[in-house]
Symmetry: C2
Subunit: 313 residues, 2 copies
């Protein structure tokens, strides 16, 4: 019997978590019919920023991203908002490689009915993970969450794609990141809206914050001027300033930054579409040539990858 | 006048570096005719492992990857081998965002004619960077380098694709990586052939090494048993053991591990082909629909990404 996605969606809209989880899994794995369901959704975010506010949190491993996620969630819950967290682990090719998610699940929000936590791990290929993240955000949007946090371990190209699903991107770094930040700067300066140097009690924090400020200044992006904070998230120092800046950015998107926000979301939709195009082209090529002498020749090294057909016609 | 790729290749084969650099740039940006050139190459590695030996070095930012790259290069030069280093920075969308490369260039190998250093930065979309890395390795192979080191900052999915171009993958982590390694482990345990916990004088190094050993053991990969080392690369402690293990793995690939090696390379060629298929599908879709009401509708939010056409027919 085919899965009734409309019924699952209706259940998810009534707040049934198992239905929501199942719906997300179907979309994540691109199950038959899932695209049709996605095509029929009308996320509220199409119409207005902040409905829901989607916050992306990224940074190198160990920078303290989860502390900020936790605090953002806590403050939103205090205000009575329904919150979803999407924890993306680009390094795990395994289903449910829920490393970030598990950590979150153990914490204080585990029993809170107003918080939904979901992890996504890398499966399949190419742009699959940012495509999945973008679709999952649309589902969470459609079923009525007020705030969606997308947390991902990030330094690479793939992770940029994941956080670009967000309205507001927070980059968390630490003085230890050192040359790390050198390496991240080029890509992330343009993507992040709020910066925080965490573990600010360690040497080099102020220098790093200044360096980031200079890079942002040099980047010379019009509109929103991305602030740089220092914090010691473990003691809670400086965290509320960061959370407040995320809200300020949401307000900016709804008002004088609306044009920028619309352009960013438009680009996000194009990216998701192209990810789907690329995924489908890979799948189609592989299944079309599976068992063929051409593919056997490629595997054996007799045919170069560049000499293989790119299309099926 | 069209660029004469065959002439560039002939010059590169004679050791002319500017020709080599130009050839790589053309392939990197998928310039017209570059695919035909690539399709005509017959990398030596098709026939035997170790001709050249391709070593991938990855790990989080600041782990000390470049120290190991440097040492691998130094030892190979001592043995009279010609060495190329491909420094991949997945976080930089800019051409020549040569952060890793610049650092390397400053060092002792800068004046050594037997060392060629090239950086690649993220440009374009999707699997572009692993596709480019794979093609660049094939060029360096074809023009006669004996050792190619591919160094990339990595925790994500994209970076896995980049290091998978290598015969031998070294993962460098540090005790600071902490939960970092938690987050990296799942994906990298399966990909890396040699592990090193660098900065071993810091607390937690031995625990981390044990943790890695357990994960590798649990992964239960047949064949090569990936060793875990501790090192303090800045003082040179433990580095030669790591370099020796990389050579041992090359010997393994040439002998009892030959079947594994062939399978890995075959999979790499299929991946490169699918990356080309995906890149081409994206480009074709975007240029086909540019200016169309459909794409305008997607940008405006009137059409969902999932409702857009996936193919041009």
């Amino acid at each position: 019997m085919p899965v009734d996605h409309a019924a699952l969606l209706a259940s998810a809209l009534r707040g049934e978590r198992r239905a929501l989880a199942r719906l997300i899994s179907r979309v994540e794995m691109r199950a038959p019919g899932a695209d049709a369901l996605m095509a029929s959704l009308q996320p509220r975010r199409l119409r207005a920023p902040g409905a829901p506010h989607v916050v992306g949190i990224t940074g190198p491993p160990g920078a303290g991203k989860s502390t900020f996620t936790d605090r953002v969630v806590t403050e939103a819950r205090r205000a009575g908002r329904r919150v979803a967290v999407v924890a993306v682990d680009p390094s795990s090719p395994r289903t449910g490689g829920a490393i970030l998610g598990d950590r979150l699940r153990m914490d204080v929000h585990a029993d809170d009915e107003g918080v939904y936590i979901r992890s996504l791990s890398a499966r399949g290929h190419g742009g699959g993970l940012s495509r999945a993240a973008s679709q999952v955000v649309d589902i969470l949007d459609a079923v009525g969450f007020d705030l969606v946090v997308v947390e991902t371990v990030g330094v690479g190209q793939g992770e940029l794609g994941i956080v670009e699903v967000a309205d507001t991107v927070l980059l968390v770094v630490t003085p230890e990141s050192g040359d790390s930040v050198q390496a991240m700067k080029a890509g992330l300066i343009e993507v992040a809206d709020v910066f925080v140097v965490n573990k600010a009690d360690r040497p080099g924090a102020d220098a790093l914050a200044r360096e980031l400020e200079i890079s942002i200044h040099l980047d010379d992006r019009p509109g929103w001027q991305a602030p740089v904070f220092t914090a010691a998230a473990l003691d809670g120092r400086g965290v509320s300033e960061v959370v407040a800046a995320l809200s300020r950015h949401a307000a900016y998107c709804a008002d004088e930054g609306r044009g920028e926000w619309l352009a960013r979301r438009a680009e996000g939709r194009v990216r998701t579409w192209l990810d789907l195009v690329a995924d489908e082209a890979r799948d189609a090529a592989l299944s079309h040539f599976e068992g063929s002498p051409l593919l056997a020749g490629l595997r054996a090294g007799a045919i170069r990858p560049e000499a293989m057909p790119r299309t099926l016609s």
